[in-house]
């Protein structure tokens, strides 16, 4: 049995999808100077709401849309707490994470009368393009993913364009680098921050939906299991620049796919499952960069 095969590349893309979506969303907040540690909580809310609304409406796309909307609303509420109420970004994000764990369990019982987990009647379709199959190597790797995987690749050119080539992106970076100067230049700092947090909410919701509706077809308690924190690490290590963050998230996806693959080799699974987390720690350490200085923590400057 070969370890490095084409199917490993393909499963890397699958495992990386939620990480890429969440990390790309997270970098938007960071570009606006918001240390957004809520990715984990947002992903959990996103996976639950997309399943809940799919069950309630019986329509996958409506479920995805309503899931993204409610998740974004919660992201904006967190934004209100840090932007307008001046709460500490990391502390309130930890609270948000706990709120997501409790809230999803509570809603699952209250709305769906289920405990532990809930199956979705529908799943995201695997897309197979016949013309792509004809291409020798790429065909088998790039074909056969869900819509959200392709969307996660699209975020790279899209975000590069928005952040570096549009007036909004300029405001975003200005607010992130020097909010006082941006405000003096007439930029609405609050609007930019709220919108960036909302974009993070949409992306994390889709990341959660990929986990629940794309991979498993169900929601289970605390199913994100630290993926949002890995995505946060990707944002930190990639210094919230789209290309770097994308590549780091892809690498973390590779670590996850490698873990899944090695499990077939009789290695102890408990130790193997720590591999993505160990790799995250090693990558953060190797960066050799003051990834989180004290000046960046704490309150949002007005």
């Amino acid at each position: 049995m070969e370890i490095l095969t084409l199917s490993l590349v393909s499963s890397t893309l699958v495992v990386a999808t939620p990480l890429i979506l969440a990390a790309m969303g997270g970098l938007f907040s960071h570009q606006a100077g918001i240390f957004n540690f809520t990715l984990e909580g947002l992903m959990l809310f996103g996976s639950f709401f997309s399943v809940m609304f799919t069950v309630l409406t019986g329509n996958l796309w409506v479920g995805l849309l309503l899931g993204a909307l409610s998740c974004t609303a919660l992201a904006v509420i967190w934004g209100w707490v840090v932007v307008d109420l001046g709460a500490d970004q990391i502390i309130s994000a930890l609270g948000f994470m706990l709120l997501a764990q409790g809230g999803t369990v509570f809603l699952m019982i209250a709305v769906l009368s289920q405990t532990g987990g809930v199956f979705s009647p529908l799943q995201l379709d695997i897309i197979r393009l016949p013309w792509l199959n004809a291409v020798p190597v790429l065909g088998s790797v790039l074909n056969g993913h869900t819509l959200l995987t392709y969307l996660s690749w699209l975020t790279l050119p899209l975000f590069l364009f928005v952040i570096y080539r549009t007036p909004y992106g300029l405001s975003l970076r200005a607010v992130g680098e020097k909010p006082e100067a941006a405000a003096a230049a007439g930029i609405n700092v609050r609007f930019v921050r709220y919108s960036a947090i909302a974009i993070t909410g949409v992306c994390c919701s889709l990341a959660g939906a990929q986990l629940a509706l794309g991979l498993l077809g169900m929601f289970t308690d605390n199913m994100t299991a630290g993926r949002g924190i890995i995505a946060f690490a990707a944002v930190i290590f990639g210094r919230h620049r789209p290309l770097q963050v994308f590549l780091v998230a892809l690498f973390f996806g590779f670590a996850g796919a490698l873990t899944d693959r090695l499990q077939g080799f009789g290695l102890p699974s408990e130790l193997l499952l720590t591999l993505p987390y160990v790799m995250t720690v090693v990558v953060l350490a190797l960066s050799g960069w003051r990834t989180f200085t004290r000046a960046q923590s704490g309150h949002v400057k007005a």
């Binding site: 502390i91 309130s92 709120l99 409790g102 509570f106 499952l273 720590t274 160990v278 953060l284």
Partner: protein, 365 residues
């Protein structure tokens, strides 16, 4: 972060206020956040057509209304006080030990190994096990501490990631070497020796001498932090690292020391839970003390001794949450929502400022 936890006390000092006002200013944010949390949970309960007052009454009844309830509250307060102390020690040095749960987990593993694999005199055995667990926690905390010290890697992310690694290593070791062969369904180690068990001194429940050890550790840590030279250096490192560095303090070493002290206290929790409550290592034994520790520390608002009352408060919530699930059929996840929203709002200082301004406005009229 350190700002949020000290603003109340700082404000009181600036105004030259005495005892009462100082306590009031320290308590304002925790009280406000608790109120916000109660409002949110009450709204959710009303939506599912449950009377919130019934829930809060059942909560108090379950936690304080019977001998069993009180013993349950004390049983939970024991680890929660320590968890709050561990987090606050980090706060004092400007650190965010988000991976408390990993240090707790390894502490539980090493504590129970000492419990069943080592032969020691009866009185000494639990003490050695708990210190051993503490050392395991301290060593596990040393990794993110050194990564922060030499590479500047965010201790929040690294320590959180190492939590998952600690679970993997511990479960692997237990499955491989120490597994209790009689339990097929759950992963747990063999039982600890009888003389390593911490006996309960309550007629019912599981309240051991560890309760006094917890309070004692909190008071000792409070004294060392407030009165000793090293404690002063740690506090200066947290309050203003650059100033402390230029004043000639060994800030990097104090940072590592504080992280390890935090990990030591966390490891004690795991060891005490293993030998005192479960009498063995049980996989996934930690019901989320890491998060709870943050809530205790935030409610104590930067005071190590304050973790004792805050730990009791959270102990009431934990003990009572079982009761509301049992008698009212309301999921205990409502308590997580309450805790989460308290943490969400506890540092939102502008909320307090707005309310204070409103009061000032009203009284001026």
């Amino acid at each position: 972060m350190s700002m949020g936890s000290t603003t109340g006390a700082a404000l009181a000092q600036r105004r030259g206020s005495t005892g009462f006002f100082r306590v009031w200013h320290t308590l304002q944010m925790p009280l406000l956040a608790t109120l916000a949390g109660l409002l949110l949970t009450s709204a959710l309960l009303l939506v599912i057509q449950v009377n919130p007052l019934d829930v809060y009454a059942a909560l108090l009844r379950g936690a304080l209304g019977s001998v069993f309830g009180i013993s349950s509250t004390l049983r939970w307060a024991t680890p929660l006080i320590l968890a709050g102390v561990a987090v606050t020690i980090g706060f004092k040095a400007g650190l965010f030990n988000a991976g408390l749960s990993g240090q707790i987990y390894l502490g539980g593993l090493v504590g129970s190994i000492i419990g069943f694999a080592v032969v020691l005199p009866a009185g000494l055995h639990p003490a050695v096990a708990i210190i051993g667990g503490g050392l395991a926690g301290a060593i596990w905390a040393l990794i993110p501490a050194l990564l922060l010290r030499y590479f500047g890697a965010s201790e929040i992310v690294t320590s959180l990631m190492l939590w998952y690694v600690a679970i993997g290593i511990s479960d692997f070791l237990v499955r491989q070497f120490f597994r209790d062969p009689t339990s097929a369904a759950f992963l747990m180690s063999v039982k600890v020796a009888p003389d390593a068990v911490l006996p309960s001194f309550f007629p019912v429940g599981n309240v051991s001498v560890m309760l006094f050890v917890s309070a004692g550790v909190a008071l000792l840590a409070w004294y060392l932090m407030a009165r000793s030279k090293i404690g002063y250096e740690v506090r200066m490192t947290g309050a203003n690292p650059r100033f402390a560095f230029y004043a000639g303090l060994p800030t990097a070493r104090r940072l590592v020391l504080a992280f390890c002290a935090s990990g030591f206290v966390a490891g004690m929790i795991g060891a005490a839970e293993s030998i005192g409550i479960n009498q063995r290592f049980v996989s996934q034994f930690d019901p989320g003390f890491g998060f709870d520790g943050f809530l205790v520390a935030l409610l104590a608002n930067g005071s190590i001794a304050g973790c004792i009352p805050a730990g009791f408060f959270l102990g009431i919530l934990k003990a009572g949450s079982m009761e509301i699930e049992r008698t009212l059929g309301v999921s205990k996840s409502i308590i997580w929502i309450l805790q989460g929203s308290i943490i969400l709002f506890v540092s939102a200082y502008r909320l307090r400022d707005r309310i204070n301004a409103l009061f000032a406005h009203l009284t001026r009229r």
